[in-house]
Symmetry: C2
Subunit: 343 residues, 2 copies
DNA sequence: CTGTTAGCGCTTTCAA
DNA sequence: TTGAAAGCGCTAACAG
């Protein structure tokens, strides 16, 4: 009798057919109470509901979705979960998606284009209704995005956007953020302001460079090529860039970094090499990572509404999914200058 | 003729039937090349492959999964994406899952039990093959977990674990971590060591308290109830606890916090109230958040292998999914004492 | 090696 | 208000 016990335990999930049989009715009727949009005899309805409760029925979304042709699932591809910006953006994405009855299938590219391609393939195979994408910094071209466009897949790009596709995009006004910061630095009397930029394939890098240049120009300071250096966003590379800049023996009184992690790398190098911050060289970041608040001196930076970016991106995508005719649009969010003590 | 154009554009996804028809063969044959486990005439196989390429065929996982009765999707419920520990753990989970051909459906509870319940319901409805759960700090009971057990759902709990269920668990040796830290503090000559603990419903809180007590005892220091205070993990609450402790006018020469965010809150209060760290009061944390490295003074803390916890949890769950007979097991990972300048 | 057939669990006409 | 039946895209016997 041990066997029957086992069989009992590995009970297969209960289906509408099971509960229909138990009640001596047809599965269509059961299905109807599930939709609660058709007319069903109130008594029957209640009996069905009770039975469902009793038998612990749970609708099989796979079957339902196969029938409906949509999954109410959004695929998300980001560079990495443990980048503070993305963990906050994902938080916004998930909350907004849940609010609207969507689930999220999440992948990280680990900053590798090939992984990114594979992720997108996997997500499409899972029949996601749409895609939220922030490209990897190694994505030198956007063929994969064009491919999505050709296939009419609803896509919204966020934060790291690129290309001229017919996709909505959500990002911050990088030009303005950089402009604001450099204005501030100049206002504090700095004149030799270096800039550590981000990877050249990302619009955000370009836009921040433009904002930096525009501010210099507006204040009659000529742009010096040798004060501009490209990095890869990482703490370690921030340190490398700072060392390189210092080794060039230029006069520098301030340094504006494309992101906080690089700025933190700069600060570490500056401290090691005996510079006082901000007295000898001021340091400014961008992104307002949690760490910016705790470092010494506190990092002056530009805050981005990362959670809100996630919310907007998800909302936009869902609107597009529900109405494919919904036109593309760019949502450009504002940044905020956060003044601490490093500049 | 505009209409026909539109119709052309909203082409429905191509199925195996489409490519079978195009080739004048049966869809079974097409299906067979998809499985590439059955014997198919090499020529036919190639023709099918070519056609798939040409027609841009993508298998419909929903259909496949409905048939197979499994989804190769793992449901994940965590308290919040933007807690550094979890963003790293998720990173490990996703990479390991992807390596083994699984996708992850992720939800956050925002530390709310009801949301947690809803998340789990949603994930189950999506027919996930198993669940990776870290409970919210407001989860005072574990009825929902018992329910999962009753339904034979493969579950692995990680980090924040609770209850006596037949689930595998992955967590760090909290007793040992706390013990190690307090030993270190005592070794530095501290005798009046306060402890800010975590929510009482979580084993990790209890275990760290036990480690703290055991170390005191081993060194002949008697445990003082008034030096123990319970907090909720947050920076703000760390500040609150610190103030409260200070206001009690006790002699304190060191404070050991259940997590770094609370320790950072303590440091802020201590600085504001004119205490020198570690001279007047030493501060120690737990978790080794990125910020711990950047604060001034650097925070002495206990590092947890957060990424690895994610990897182990995912691996364990997948093993259980593939072999339901696989017995439960506890994976207890080791911590590391990271000495900086705050203690 | 290949085609036919019967579902997986659900929704939704069409009739009654 | 209800039931019968077809079918979403795919897999897997079974038969040839």
């Amino acid at each position: 009798m041990v066997y029957s016990l086992n069989i009992y335990e590995m009970k297969t999930p209960v289906t509408i057919l099971d509960i229909a049989r138990e009640l001596g009715i047809s599965k269509s009727t059961v299905s109807r109470v599930l939709q609660n949009t058709y007319d069903v005899n109130p008594e029957t309805r209640q009996k069905v509901l009770d039975k469902m409760q009793q038998m612990n029925y749970r609708p099989n979304m796979m079957a339902r979705n196969l029938k409906k042709g949509s999954t109410s699932v959004i695929g998300v591809n980001i560079p990495a979960f443990d980048i503070p910006f993305y963990s906050q953006a994902i938080s916004g994405i998930q909350n907004e998606a849940a609010r609207q009855g969507y689930n999220i299938l999440t992948c990280q590219s680990n900053e590798d284009v090939n992984t990114e391609l594979k992720n997108i393939e996997t997500l499409l195979a899972s029949q996601v209704d749409g895609l939220l994408i922030s490209i990897s910094k190694t994505a030198r071209n956007v063929m994969h995005l064009l491919e999505l466009q050709r296939n009419n897949i609803p896509v919204v790009l966020f934060n790291r956007v690129a290309g001229q596709m017919d996709f909505s995009k959500v990002y911050v006004n990088d030009f303005d953020g950089a402009h604001k910061m450099v204005n501030y630095l100049i206002g504090k009397g700095h004149k030799k302001i270096a800039h550590i930029a981000g990877p050249g394939n990302l619009s955000l890098s370009k836009n921040r460079i433009e904002g930096y240049k525009a501010s210099l120009k507006a204040h009659g300071i000529s742009f010096a090529e040798e004060l501009l250096i490209e990095g890869d966003f990482s703490f370690a590379d921030g340190a490398r860039c700072m060392n390189e800049l210092l080794d060039r023996q230029l006069e520098i009184d301030a340094i504006f970094c494309v992101c906080d992690s690089m700025a933190l790398g700069c600060m570490q190098v500056l401290k090691q090499r005996g510079y006082r911050i901000p007295k000898d060289i001021a340091v400014a970041g961008y992104t307002n990572d949690p760490a910016a608040e705790y470092v010494d001196p506190g990092l002056t930076t530009i805050a981005q509404p990362s959670y809100q970016i996630g919310v907007e991106a998800a909302a936009l995508l869902i609107r597009k999914i529900k109405n494919p005719a919904y036109p593309r649009q760019d949502v450009i969010l504002d940044t905020e200058l956060i003044i601490r003590n490093s500049a």
